[in-house]
């Protein structure tokens, strides 16, 4: 049973052990619940049939029943919740740890809110099932054969009459589930479609309003919702009728026992004691099933949650060995890459960014520049070819050893809801406060930090909500200063900022890139005129490379961009 739990519900060894224990307590509770029934039958035996038992027999039986019942019920309760919350904590920690060990590329491909959902609500669902359903239902499956056997031994005809309808009522439930799963996949397609249409409507609200499309869009959405309502009803009707059948069986199970019992009694096959005892037993069994029905359904419903967790676990963990990188050339050798299967974004790209030099990537939007930076930082993993840093394949070395030597300053900066000081310290965990402050100064952060209510100790809100774009980028540059890695990747960092901030960012950048291997993307070609090497990318291919002076003559793309820069600068409305 332990191994079954472990495999079926994705839980830990200890959790499965606790759950097994809880299950056995549930089983024992079911057993003790039979005791009052026997007292009742004994009473009947005396009151109706005149077989007298002594007062002390009754009293001792009753007292023992109550005492055992109390002990077992409280044991069951404690073991249930103990198992539950210990396990949910372990499960959550385990998932979080597992996440931390997944390849970085995993997070680029998955929606972050889905991942949070796995830790929060999926675990919560499993948690609820553990405390309310799983041990009780499994305990009942242990108990039921025992009870059934006893009933069959007593009188096999009555036994069958009591067992079969209840069993049917229960066995039908998985059938309902199966039917549901089959027809639901169709419904979910419709639902996904609706969601997408809905999302599009919200995103395009400006366009919809300003081109007077509201009525049209509303109509088409309304129609979609009504359509899906019809399909949903059809789909659920199938599983509902099976559920209804199950209810019907459970209702008539008692009636069947009474009918058959009565006929057996009239034919003299059984005594009145048997008749009464079996009817009481049948009702007891029906009650148990009624209570466990919700639990059984819940066990079905948590399957998607369990599947998501399993899926995450089965993703290959980050591979690669810890290595010290001692030289800092970045080399692309015949690298190809596609985000989805059919469109290659990079086609057989090769170039070298030499140690201590500044290498810039140029080209029009969508040519693949940003993708190149993403591959170096392992936000995505390349499909073909090789990317070498210091002569080592970045897929073969651990991310820890790679990022010991690589710093990245991206367009969008992720900040944490802690102090400014801690946000910068992320660059180097062991840095002293003094070091952090020096890095902030180098990144031109001091002027805005000093304006904050608590200076460096100010908490900056969720994802740094309180800060402007320029300020956020300067913090991220401060991190890079603190980290002081020999390889630096700069992604279009002056984009969409106003001049005020841009100037300050530029000042700090020139300090930051000193003596480093730098790979930079900038749309403003003027800013990269003086770099050691410019690589021109066009449609996923390296078109040309060289210095500014060389490229003006040799590269069509580059010359065009330079020309357009001039035209745009001289342009006047």
């Amino acid at each position: 049973m332990k191994n079954y739990y472990k495999k079926r519900y994705c839980i830990s060894e200890q959790g499965a052990k606790n759950l097994t224990k809880a299950t056995w307590f549930c089983f024992l509770t079911y057993l003790i619940n039979l005791a009052p029934m026997f007292i009742l039958i004994a009473l009947f035996n005396q009151l109706v049939l005149g077989n007298v038992s002594s007062v002390w027999q009754y009293v001792s039986m009753a007292v023992l029943t109550l005492v055992f019942m109390y002990v077992l019920l409280s044991k069951e309760y404690t073991s249930l919740f103990n198992a539950t919350y210990k396990e949910s904590a372990d499960l959550r920690k385990d998932i979080a740890e597992n996440l931390a060990n997944l390849p970085i590329a995993y997070f680029s491909k998955h929606d972050l809110s889905d991942l949070s959902q796995t830790i929060m609500s999926d675990v919560q669902e499993i948690e609820h099932a553990i405390s309310h359903s799983i041990p009780k239902v499994v305990g009942m499956w242990l108990f039921f054969p025992l009870m059934g056997l006893a009933m069959l031994i007593g009188n096999w005809k009555l036994g069958l009459a009591a067992i079969i309808p209840t069993l049917l009522s229960f066995l039908i439930l998985p059938l309902a589930k199966k039917k549901e799963v089959a027809s639901y996949s169709k419904y979910f397609d419709v639902l996904r479609d609706n969601s997408a249409a809905f999302q599009e409507t919200i995103e395009l609200q400006q366009e919809i309003s300003s081109f007077n499309q509201s009525a049209k869009v509303k109509d088409s959405l309304y129609k979609k919702m009504e359509e899906s309502e019809k399909i949903h009803f059809k789909v659920e009707f199938g599983s509902m009728s099976v559920m209804g059948l199950s209810t019907l069986f459970s209702y008539i199970s008692v009636a069947v026992v009474i009918m058959i019992g009565m006929s057996l009694f009239l034919h003299g096959e059984i005594t009145m004691l048997y008749l009464v005892a079996y009817i009481i037993g049948a009702i007891k069994v029906k009650e148990l099933f009624d209570i466990s029905k919700e639990g059984t359904m819940e066990m079905f419903y948590i399957e998607p949650a369990v599947r998501r967790i399993k899926e995450m676990r089965s993703t290959a963990l980050q591979e690669g060995i810890d290595t010290d990188i001692l030289s800092y050339d970045v080399k692309f050798r015949n690298v190809s890459f596609a985000y989805d299967d059919d469109t290659k974004v990079l086609k057989n790209i090769s170039f070298i960014a030499k140690q201590g030099e500044v290498t810039a990537l140029a080209g029009i939007s969508g040519c693949g520049k940003t993708t190149i930076l993403r591959l170096i930082s392992r936000l995505y993993d390349y499909d073909e070819g090789k990317i070498l840093v210091g002569g080592k394949d970045i897929k073969g070395i651990s991310t820890d050893s790679l990022f010991k030597v690589v710093s990245i300053v991206f367009q969008d900066v992720t900040l944490f809801n802690t102090s400014i000081l801690e946000n910068i310290r992320l660059g180097k965990e062991t840095a002293t406060d003094e070091e952090v402050k020096r890095a902030a100064k180098l990144a031109n952060c001091i002027d805005f930090i000093e304006k904050l209510p608590d200076g460096f100790d100010t908490k900056i809100g969720e994802n740094g909500a309180e800060l402007s774009g320029g300020e956020r980028q300067r913090l991220s540059i401060a991190r890079a200063f603190l980290k002081d890695a020999p390889i630096l990747i700069l992604d279009e960092i002056s984009a969409s900022l106003d001049v005020d901030n841009e100037k300050k960012i530029q000042e700090s950048l020139n300090k930051l890139i000193k003596d480093k291997t730098v790979i930079i993307i900038s749309h403003r070609l003027k800013s990269i005129e003086n770099v050691d090497k410019i690589i021109v990318i066009d449609d996923g291919l390296v078109e040309d490379s060289g210095t500014h002076k060389e490229l003006i003559n040799s590269s069509k793309t580059y010359a065009n961009l330079i020309n357009k820069t001039k035209l745009a600068e001289e342009f006047s409305y």
């Binding site: 009504e226 939007s365 992720t414 020139n510 409305y573």
Partner: protein, 584 residues
């Protein structure tokens, strides 16, 4: 039960299904208890009266009533499902209504994914409470009542015992739910866990890149442990009442049996007592199952309540910001007047009594630092924002006095990141003017520099945006949006010049497209490239939500004020070059 009246408000025309579901399920409950009455009769006939013929008759009645009860229960479920589906649909429709009425401020403040999730998920969450719980709930509440009545019908003794049992267990259950202190701790630790999780997952890439896993994991791990602790404490605080509750139900016969056993030999009607004991055993079981159902229901009702509250909060926010329109259809002229306009985002006041007048057929450029308020001024002019106070007047009348159609017809805007519909490029442009001929649409695309975009694709202008292999860069999308605005031919054009994250090739094409759009219009533009606005009619410098300076390029330069400083900063930033000092 308040939650149901709240929910029913959204399905006025299907309410009848709801009432039918409740009534039918109530009848089903009644029939079920009738079935138990015949079980009682059955036992009485067989044990007390030894009339087996009557007993046989009763056994048939039991079958009939229980089967009928089950069938009605299923029927009730059918009605409740019908209602639940309609409710879900209506809640979503209501959301759509709100969306089409809400001002743009609502969309600026609320991320689109979150809005959709709130509407979609919460509408779905009401399903359980209505489809499944509506029949179950009315049964769970009615069955104990009918059972109690039946117990008094059987005898006062049975009635009294069942009554006491119900009261005591009801009190215990109530005591179990009243652990406010534990509940609060539990809830707050759950919230904390939720926010730590979001932060952990959001930051995980960065954390990996900087290699400092441990620290952020510690915070999450602490939240996990705290939650687990408080949840456990909360559940343990419920332990005693819950165990006691189960004990008095399950052990009822044992409890009654102790005092009873002393009198067994002296009873005058032992057979009747035996039947009554059996009925107590049955009825207590029936009531226990019902009470358990109420407990399951409590969870579902709580969820439904939470869902409907979140939805209504969203509906209210959309309504608060609802735009209003008037009856005027004709603009006398296109002079624009901001009169003491105040506007805020959340608690943040962006404009406070801002005033500005602009003449028709001139080109205005707004410049200033980011956060100065220049974008807000342009956005408000679109007519899709509700002002806190003051008025924006065009042609002498406030925007709110015009009809929606005339505002839309007379004002065009192209802001940053324009979005396109998942239709063909042609349709995306053509929707700006449904009466336009194909030539006019193609002409607008030509003026916006879209020819080159179209020629990239095999399907030309019929290429569907967002379909496989169709990739458009930000600048290209922007040009299609400009074509749309050109086709619309509104006399007033508001535009936000291209952002900096665009390559020179695209930028130059955009500039040309914008220039074509501006021809013979009243134009208000937000400028980023200071060099391009030298020749506009008037430059307005905005600082802290006020007009700091205005005039043309020459007069402003003469002033040597904010404009000069901005221009200076711009030029240095533009001339900056990455320099590897080692090489110099």
């Amino acid at each position: 039960m308040k939650v149901y009246s709240k929910l029913f408000r959204y399905v006025p025309d299907s309410k009848i299904s709801g009432y039918l579901a409740i009534i039918i399920s109530g009848i089903s409950a009644f029939l079920m208890v009738c079935g138990y009455y015949f079980i009682y009769q059955f036992f009485k006939e067989i044990i007390v009266n030894s009339n087996f013929e009557n007993a046989s008759l009763n056994s048939w009645l039991i079958v009939i009533f229980l089967t009928l009860s089950a069938l009605l229960y299923i029927l009730s479920g059918l009605f409740s499902h019908k209602l639940a589906f309609r409710l879900e649909t209506n809640l979503r429709k209501r959301g759509i209504d709100g969306l089409t009425e809400a001002s743009f401020r609502f969309f600026d403040l609320n991320p689109s994914g979150l809005i959709r999730k709130t509407i979609d998920d919460n509408a779905a969450k009401t399903h359980m409470a209505v489809a499944h719980m509506l029949p179950d709930n009315s049964q769970a509440f009615l069955v104990p009542i009918f059972a109690l009545i039946l117990s008094f019908v059987i005898s006062v003794r049975v009635g009294t015992i069942i009554l006491i049992l119900s009261l005591v267990s009801g009190l215990i259950l109530k005591g179990m739910m009243g652990n406010g202190e534990f509940m609060k701790l539990y809830q707050s630790s759950l919230d904390k866990l939720s926010s730590e999780t979001v932060e952990y997952v959001r930051g995980i890439q960065v954390i990996k890149i900087f290699g400092s896993k441990l620290k952020s994991f510690k915070a999450l791990s602490e939240a996990i442990m705290n939650y687990s602790k408080y949840a456990y404490n909360y559940s343990i605080s419920c332990k005693n009442p819950y165990v006691l509750y189960q004990l008095i139900f399950l052990g009822l016969i044992a409890i009654i049996g102790i005092p009873l056993s002393f009198f067994l030999t002296d009873l005058s009607d032992p057979k009747t007592i035996a039947v009554e004991l059996i009925m107590i055993f049955f009825l207590s079981g029936v009531i226990m199952v019902s009470f358990m159902k109420i407990m399951w229901a409590a969870q579902n009702i709580f969820n439904a309540n939470y869902a409907i509250d979140s939805l209504e909060k969203l509906y209210d926010t959309m309504q608060e910001d609802k735009l209003s329109y008037g009856k005027l259809e004709h603009f006398d002229n296109y002079n624009i007047e901001f009169e003491d306009v105040s506007f805020s985002y959340g608690g943040n006041k962006v404009l406070d009594k801002f005033s500005l007048s602009l003449d028709e057929n001139r080109i205005y450029a707004l410049v200033g630092h980011s956060g100065s308020g220049k974008s807000t001024i342009a956005k408000l002019l679109s007519g899709f924002y509700k002002l806190d106070s003051g008025a924006i007047k065009i042609g002498g009348h406030s925007l709110e006095e015009y009809t929606k159609e005339s505002v839309i017809k007379n004002i065009s805007f192209v802001f940053q990141d324009s979005k396109l519909f998942k239709k063909s490029i042609y349709e995306n442009v053509a929707l700006a003017d449904e009466t336009a001929s194909k030539e006019e649409v193609m002409e607008a695309m030509n003026l916006a520099g879209c020819d080159e975009i179209i020629s990239k694709f095999k399907e030309k202008e019929n290429t569907i945006i967002g379909s496989k292999g169709v990739y458009l860069s930000g600048g290209e999308k922007q040009r299609i949006a400009i074509a749309r605005a050109i086709l619309k031919k509104s006399p007033i054009v508001i535009m936000d010049e291209a952002s900096a994250s665009i390559d020179a090739d695209n930028e130059y094409k955009l500039q040309k497209a914008f220039k074509n759009l501006m021809k013979d219009k009243t134009v208000i533009m937000i400028a980023h490239r200071m060099s391009s606005i030298k020749n506009v009619d008037e430059i307005i410098v905005i600082e802290n939500g006020k007009v700091a300076e205005k005039g043309n390029n020459t007069s402003l330069l003469k002033k040597q004020g904010l404009y000069s400083r901005l221009l200076n900063l711009y030029e240095t930033a533009n001339d900056w070059r990455v320099s590897n000092e080692k090489l110099l």
